[in-house]
Amino acid sequence: MKLLRTMLPAGLVVATALIAWFWATPGVVPELVFPSPESVWQAIESLGWALAWHSFVTLVRVLLGWALGSVLGIGFGLALTWSARVFRACYPLVEFLRPLPPTALIPFFIVWFGLGISGQLVLVGIGCFMVLTVSTYEAVHNTPERYPLAAASLGATKWAIYRSVFFPSIIPSLVPALRVSAALAFAVAVAAELMGAQSGLGFLMMVARRTLHTNTILVGIMIIAVQSFCLDLAIRAAGAWGTRWADRSRETIARLH
C-alpha cells in the first residue's frame, strides 16, 4: 500500500506523457519532429543486437570513467585537507580548471589519445574528478571539530582520524556529489561519442542524425535516460545504506504541513 502511494504520482505523470505521445504522434506532430511509438519500436527491431552492444559500450565507459574519476577525486580531496603544502600547490590549479567544461577538451583528447576508449575514460573521469575533489574538500572542512578532537583525545592518530572520523562523516555529502557526477559522466561520455568514436550510443545517434533517423536518436536518448536513472537509483540505495546512521531530516520535512 505504501509502495503504491509512493509510486502513484510518478506513475500518473509517466502515464500522461505516454498517452500524450501516443495521441500526438504521428498525426499532430510530424515524424521528423518527434517520432511515434511505432517508429521507435521499428528502430529497436531493426537495430537488434547492435543496439544492445552500443548501449553496453556507453554504459561501460560511463561506469569506468565515473568510478575512476570519483575514487581519485575523493582521494585527492582528502589529500588537499591532509597537507597544507599539497593544498597550496594544487588548489589554485583545481579552482582554475574546475569551471572548464570537459567537453571543451574533446578535440585535444582525440589528438592525444585517438578515438579509443582511453581518451573517453579520461575525459569522463576528469569531469567526475573535479566534482568529487571539491565536494570532498568542502565536506571534510564542514565536519564539526568535536569529532576529530574526540577521536584524538582517545589516542587516534591522524591516519586513524581520517579513516574512522572524516571518511564516514563525509559520506552524506558525497552521495549527492556522486549522483551529480554520474549524470555528468553520461553527458560527457555521449558528447565524446558524438564527436569522435566508433561505437556507443552517441556514435549511433550521430550516424542517425546524418540520415535523419530521428526514431533511432530517440531510442538512444531513452536508453541513456534509463541507464542514468538506474545508476542514480543504485547510488541512492547504496547511499541510504551508507548513511543509515544519519538524521532523517528529509522524513521530518515530509511530515511538515
Binding site: A150, S153, L154, A156, A160, S164, I171, R244
Partner: protein
C-alpha cells in the same frame, strides 16, 4: 604554567599550577573567557603551554589521547557508529592496551544504564543518553586522567542532576584523576573535591576551595552556602 596566544598577542593563562590525584575531582570555575577551556586543552595535549609542562602519571603530555581523555560540552558521540562501537573505539588506538571485548563494552555501558542500547544509533538516543555514551567511552579508554569541559552544559536541570549522581557513583567504582570545567557552582559543589576559581583574562588562580576528602560526601546545606558565598566573592573579584 603560562599560555600566550602568539597570533593575538594575548596572555591567556598565567602562573597556573595544579595537581590532581587519582580518585579526586578538581573543578575549575571562572568568568567566561578566563581560559578554562584553554587550560583543559593544554592538559589534554591539544595545546602546548608557552612555558611549563603537564605530567600525567609521571609522563610528560606531548600529544592528546596518551594519558588523558576529554569529554566535550557538545555532543561528540560518533553518529556513524553504534553505541557499542563508540565505546569500543576507546581502546582501538590505545598503544599496548588490550582491546575491549564485547563483555567489557557492555560492562561500561551498564555503568551508565545503557546496556540495552548497545546496537542503537546515537541519533535514536536523547541528549542525556548520548552524553552517557561519551562518558562510558571516556572511562573505557582506561586512561588515568579524565578532562570534562562543561559536559552537562547543554542538558536540562533534571537530566543534569541524574547525570551528576551517575557520574559520582561511577567514579567511585572507576576512580580517575578528574579535572572539570563548569559555569555551574552547584555542579562544582556536588562533584568536586576541590574548586579552583580563576580570574578574568589573563587567567590565574584567585581562590582554591577544598570541599571534601577523596571518597567523602558532598558538603551539606550550611557548609554548601558558605562555600558558595566564598566562590561567588572570588569570581566577582
Amino acid at each position: 604554567m603560562v599560555f600566550r596566544d602568539i597570533e593575538e598577542h594575548l596572555d591567556v593563562l598565567t602562573d597556573i599550577s595544579l595537581e590532581v590525584s587519582t580518585g579526586e575531582t578538581l573543578v575549575i570555575l571562572g568568568p567566561s573567557g578566563c581560559g578554562k577551556t584553554t587550560l583543559l586543552r593544554i592538559l589534554a595535549g591539544f595545546l602546548t603551554p608557552s612555558s611549563g609542562i603537564v605530567h600525567v602519571a609521571g609522563q610528560a603530555v606531548t600529544r592528546p589521547g596518551v594519558s588523558s581523555t576529554m569529554v566535550f560540552q557538545e555532543d561528540a558521540t560518533f553518529p556513524w557508529m553504534t553505541v557499542a562501537e563508540n565505546v569500543r573505539f576507546a581502546s582501538r588506538y590505545q598503544a599496548g592496551a588490550a582491546q575491549l571485548r564485547s563483555n567489557d563494552v557492555v560492562a561500561y555501558l551498564d555503568l551508565f544504564g545503557l546496556g540495552d542500547f548497545a546496537t542503537a544509533w546515537p541519533r535514536t538516543l536523547s541528549g542525556g543518553m548520548r552524553k552517557r555514551v561519551e562518558l562510558a567511552r571516556a572511562l573505557a579508554s582506561r586512561l588515568p586522567a579524565l578532562l570534562l569541559d562543561e559536559p552537562f552544559g547543554s542538558l536540562d536541570v533534571l537530566t543534569k542532576r541524574d547525570m551528576q549522581v551517575g557520574l559520582s557513583r561511577t567514579l567511585e567504582r572507576e576512580p580517575r584523576a578528574v579535572v572539570m570545567v563548569t559555569h555551574d557552582i552547584d555542579e562544582a559543589l556536588t562533584l568536586g573535591n576541590r574548586i579552583m576559581v580563576m580570574s578574568p583574562r589573563p587567567g590565574r588562580v584567585v581562590e582554591e576551595v577544598i570541599l571534601r576528602p577523596r571518597g567523602g560526601e558532598p558538603p551539606h546545606d550550611s557548609s554548601r552556602m558558605r562555600f558558595r558565598e566564598r566562590i561567588l566573592t572570588a569570581i566577582e573579584g
